[in-house]
Amino acid sequence: MDTELILMQLFSGVALGAILVLTALGLSIIFGMLGVVNFAHGALFMVGAYAGLWVASLTGSFWWGLIVAPIMIGGFGMLIEYFLIRPLYGRSIDDPLLLTFGLSYVLVEGVRIVFGSDGIPFPTPSSLTGVVDLGVGFFPIYRIFVVGIVFLVVVLLWLGLEKTKFGLIVRAGARDPTMMKVLGIDISKVWLLVFGLGVGLASLGGVLSGPMRSVNPEMGALVLAEAFVVTVIGGLGSLVGSIVAGLLVGVVISMTALFAPEMATIVMFALMAVVLLIRPQGLFGKLA
């Protein structure tokens, strides 16, 4: 096997990893700050793709879809938090998980009713079609663009969390919600925004993957499982963990695809089992 192919495979792995990071981030942020496992994450990813498509077809531009849909679905996420999740705070930690699980059924079926069960074409924007020569092989321009967006999102998140007052409140709130109350900060507003942010990220992932994968009502199911694996490996609630684990999983899948392609999906779960055996809290997780 020549080095060119291995290098190319490594690059594909990193690119795939970037997409996995994007799918895991929203899940990880919501869990990290609110302690809520959003089981509707995959469904919202899918709804985001449809929303992006819808906005793009209304405006005739992919870019409007890319910008408007995450905001729209992020807002929808805030409604979910306000009306459905908020009444569950203070109850069992399992309740939000169960509720969002039921919600995912509703969302998937709702999309089937509105858009049909077949799936809809989502063409790659014309300015991003085609391949680019990396020296070791060809790679679609669009995928490189997605990697760039993921990088941008990660940087913005980091800046937002580390360098702004809001970020400070969010991080403090995650550690000690009662302290926030004592300080007179309305933590419920922070949670609302964080949930909206997480859902917005999920739908951004959906819009971005539209041109790469086919858009259909079931596209979220697999994404949910992938996002779970990445966050569990990285450590629940750890952003750094999600990023490292996403890239790791991407590269592992890619290398498996080269040597034992039929194992490319199973390897992800096997990797998770191994990590759990050695470090039950995940690579960057803290012990409960």
Partner: protein, 330 residues
């Protein structure tokens, strides 16, 4: 606290309620069996009744962990599937008699539950749910790959049990009524076992862990080991449900291992009422009838099932039976 003051006036009625509850608890196994005897004559079809039986057993087994120990597993489909696959493989590929195949299925499921439990009970809270989910998905993909044994995506088949011998009688197992009552014996056995477990000191121990894990540990309970035992017992009962389903359908679909199948078990349990004995069975009944009725009426039945579930989590977290016990019986 204001609660004692609130509780005081309803004392007399509370007494009556407690009496009813203790009566129901005492005779819960015979009562369930009586209800099960009538079930096939009350439901639209025998096949549906058998499914209620199977999912009832699975949900009751699952509830041992979810309702009583307080652990939300999203991976119990693995044990249901393991029971079904092992039974099917034993009959179809090794010609093992059906009753032995059932035993093998249950033992195999228990073993898998022990292994998965050993891995997952090391983790806590929400982590536990995700780890069980991911481990069960691993089992799903293994079954998909091991198609020589499992039939892969095509599903496992070729093990139809058309007649069985029981106490010297030969019974036509294709007859839906016969099949129902034979499988009902397994269900009754499962209910009896679960009832005994719940009544045992161990039953009190798992409730103590659900109530307050730290206190239970301070009392001298090995929390991890108790959880592992609960996990294994729960998985074993679910595996029994799986073997019943294999005998019933003469087919094991790969989907039976998928996490959405686990999700369905969770939904049934919660719908009926976790942490009550009858709840999960009632949940399985309501869920399956709902699905049966709505899917004839609209192909978008999932939106109804999903919404009902969301509403239950929000407003009736104790489920149908739990709410009946606390609200109506007041």
């Amino acid at each position: 606290m204001t609660s004692p003051a609130l509780a005081a006036p309803s004392h007399a009625r509370a007494g009556k309620r407690a009496q009813f509850r203790s009566l129901v608890t005492r005779y819960r196994v015979p009562l369930s069996i009586l209800a099960l005897c009538l079930l096939p004559w009350l439901l639209p079809s025998k096949a549906l009744a058998v499914n209620v039986l199977i999912y009832g057993v699975i949900a009751v087994g699952y509830n041992l962990l979810f309702g009583y120990t307080g652990l939300l597993s999203f991976g119990h489909a693995a044990f249901v599937g393991a029971g079904a696959y092992i039974t099917g493989i034993a009959i179809g590929q090794f010609g093992v008699p059906w009753y032995l195949a059932v035993l093998l299925g249950v033992v195999g499921g228990a073993l898998l539950a022990f292994i998965m439990g050993a891995l997952s009970t090391r983790t806590r809270g929400i982590y536990f749910s995700m780890v069980t989910l991911a481990l069960a998905q691993l089992v799903y993909y293994v079954a998909l790959q091991a198609s020589a044994w499992t039939g892969g995506e095509n599903g496992l088949r070729g093990f139809t049990v058309s007649k069985i011998e029981l106490l010297g009688f030969e019974i036509n197992f294709l007859d839906p009524v016969n099949k129902y009552y034979v499988l009902m014996m397994f269900a009754a056995l499962a209910l009896w076992i679960v009832s005994r477990i719940l009544n045992s000191p161990f039953g009190a121990a798992i409730e103590a862990i659900r109530e307050n894990e730290r206190r239970a540990r301070t009392c001298g309970y090995d929390v991890e080991r108790t959880k592992l035992l609960a996990f294994t017992l729960s998985g074993t009962i679910c595996a029994l449900g799986g073997t019943m389903s294999a005998l019933h359908l003469a087919f094991v679909p790969l989907d039976s291992l998928h996490y959405l199948s686990s999700g369905m078990i969770v939904m049934m349990t919660l719908l009926g009422g976790a942490s009550s004995f009858f709840g999960p069975f009632i949940g399985a009944l309501v869920f399956l009838v709902m699905e049966d009725v709505f899917s004839l009426w609209t192909s978008h039945w999932q939106i109804i099932v999903g919404s009902v579930f969301v509403l239950f989590v929000l407003f009736l977290p104790k489920g149908i039976w739990g709410t009946f016990l606390t609200k109506v019986m007041r």
